[in-house]
């Protein structure tokens, strides 16, 4: 491990420790915001681990997130919570393998539509199963788990995601993904199994999204397909990751924080136009800052250092 690595680790550990203190100061508005930040931080970071290097825009986040949430919702009265989280991880991974193997050969807009359709498909299936089994369309999730605990679990998951991402970036797999992002034909011709590399990353991000959904289930006490599989989750994750910048591991988090703070204000002002505003935000980001906040900062720094030297 190099000197900068050690320094970055120390900084990350300190930031994490400070973030973990939040519930000691406030368990109301700020903790709720903290949970949302941690949730989207995890989702956007793991989304970018796949979509950043491969340039595949996945809208499947809600499919995995909802699956995890429903596994907890459906099993909370039968099995202990940690077991359900593990099941959610396995189910998310299995679903991602299935989807990955069938979609990694289709590209561009077809992949986007397929992943969007996937969340909708699962939502319809879940709704159908629930209504034909006679119960209402939602599930009660009654547990002893407090919001502070959810927050700490999410922070822990975020730390795991960062460790995994850091490890991948230094591995052959990370190099393979960079080559794929540069030129997939070259990648195949230097011996990279491109489909396998992409599926592995898709599985990692799908598993993380499913676990995130599982961890958040106790927060809602009553989960419904429209909440768990909401396409808004998928769209927001994409926007936040792009806003921050997907070419660095810590980029998406730099998008999540400003977006969530602004979004809270804006959606309170215009509660009926959120979808429209989200679309506008997306266009602005893609056109004005294609490399995200991090890309902007990096090019500033580069310009300054070349100006001095």
């Amino acid at each position: 491990m190099s000197g900068t690595d050690k320094r970055n680790f120390a900084l990350a550990a300190m930031a994490l420790a400070m973030a973990a203190l939040l519930p000691l100061f406030d368990t109301g508005y700020w903790l709720a915001l903290g949970v949302s930040l941690a949730m989207y931080g995890v989702l956007a970071t793991s989304w970018a681990m796949f979509s950043g290097p491969t340039h595949y825009i996945s809208l499947a986040t809600a499919a995995f997130f909802g699956t995890g949430m429903y596994i907890v919702g459906g099993g909370v009265e039968i099995l202990p919570f940690p077991v359900l989280v593990v099941i959610a991880a396995v189910a998310g991974a299995a679903l991602a393998v299935l989807v990955g193997l069938t979609t990694m050969r289709i590209s561009g807009v077809y992949f986007v539509i397929f992943t969007l359709g996937l969340a909708e498909l699962i939502r319809q299936v879940v709704t159908w199963v629930q209504t034909t089994m006679g119960s209402s369309s939602g599930l009660y999730v009654l547990t002893e788990i407090t919001e502070s605990m959810i927050y700490w679990q999410l922070l822990l998951l975020l730390a795991v995601v960062y460790l995994v991402g850091w490890r991948i970036n230094r591995s052959r797999l990370g190099l393979a993904l960079r080559v794929i992002g540069n030129d997939e034909t070259v990648a195949a011709h230097v011996g990279i199994n491109t489909a396998k590399a992409k599926v592995i990353l898709f599985v990692i991000s799908g598993t993380v999204a499913s676990v995130t959904g599982a961890l958040l289930a106790p927060r809602w006490t009553y989960v419904e397909p429209t909440i768990a599989f909401s396409p808004m989750i998928s769209f927001q994750v994409v926007i936040m990751a792009l806003l921050g910048g997907v070419h660095r591991l810590w980029g998406p988090l730099c998008g999540v924080i400003p977006f969530m703070l602004l979004w809270d204000l804006i959606s309170a002002q215009f509660p009926n136009q959120t979808t429209l505003l989200l679309g506008v935000a997306f266009l602005l980001i893609v056109y004005l800052i294609p490399n995200g906040v991090v890309g902007l900062i990096e090019s500033r720094l580069k310009r300054r250092s070349s100006g001095n030297g």
């Binding site: 052959r172 393979a176 992002g181 540069n182 030129d183 195949a188 011709h189 230097v190 011996g191 199994n193």
Partner: protein, 239 residues
């Protein structure tokens, strides 16, 4: 080393390669020539796995590679350059070359990889550019970089698709002598070229294609004076 048998490839009606067969012995340098659109690049794509043949077989050593995906063929020891040079734009020259030696036929990682990549860069004469972004290279240097990326995998068979095209006379002389060195090293190579001087001085053997078919085969001097070959190049249909 390489055995091509009755390979046919058509693109929605257009037969780009039509029942082509040839053999390439180890250590041989073969020229694959023919007029524009005669199917040379398509043959390269079939060999490297970029395209799949409709019928026929291709063997590398004693393994059939015609059904394998491109990455598996690369691992078997086939490396290539592209007619239109393909660089990895977001990477440095050193990285562009190094990626050829990680996943394929030869596998390096860590400090060994960097040493080896620098050796290959020295070999093609651009070691001093190792830290340059690949996009900042001139066309000839990009071609050199692409050759280094193919060589680092220590290929059993190397495919060069018009690697000499677009070079000025001095660069051309350098290029020909570089390939000449590979020849003395004992590499097995197929070169597609329109530069006939290169074919004459480098190749042991030549296959001439026209409209997807093999129209002549043999030593360059003999083949290039063949009447059918001359008329194919002159666009004479009644040959």
């Amino acid at each position: 080393m390489l055995e091509v048998r009755d390979v046919t490839k058509s693109f929605s009606g257009l037969v780009a390669v039509d029942g082509l067969s040839f053999d390439l012995a180890a250590g041989q340098i073969m020229g694959l020539i023919g007029p524009n659109g005669s199917g040379k690049t398509t043959v390269m794509n079939l060999l490297s796995g970029e395209l799949k043949a409709n019928t026929g077989q291709i063997h590398l050593g004693n393994r059939e590679i015609s059904k394998l995906p491109a990455h598996a063929i690369a691992r078997q020891g086939l490396a290539r350059t592209f007619q239109i040079v393909r660089i990895l734009p977001a990477m440095t020259v050193l990285e562009n070359v190094a990626v050829g030696g990680v996943f394929g036929h030869a596998r390096y990682w860590g400090p060994g990889l960097e040493t080896r990549a620098l050796e290959m860069l020295a070999r093609v004469g651009i070691r001093h550019l190792s830290q340059t972004p690949a996009t900042a290279l001139t066309y000839i240097d990009q071609k050199r970089m692409e050759l280094a990326r193919a060589l680092i995998s220590d290929p059993e068979v190397l495919l060069l698709d018009e690697w000499l095209a677009g070079l000025n006379p001095t660069e051309l002389t350098d290029g020909i002598s570089l390939i000449g060195e590979l020849r003395t090293e004992g590499r097995t190579i197929i070169i597609v070229e329109h530069v006939m001087d290169a074919i004459r001085s480098l190749c042991d053997h030549c296959v001439v294609m026209n409209s997807g078919r093999k129209i002549a085969e043999g030593a360059p001097a003999v083949v290039l004076s063949d009447r059918a070959v001359i008329s194919a190049y002159l666009g004479d249909d009644d040959a």
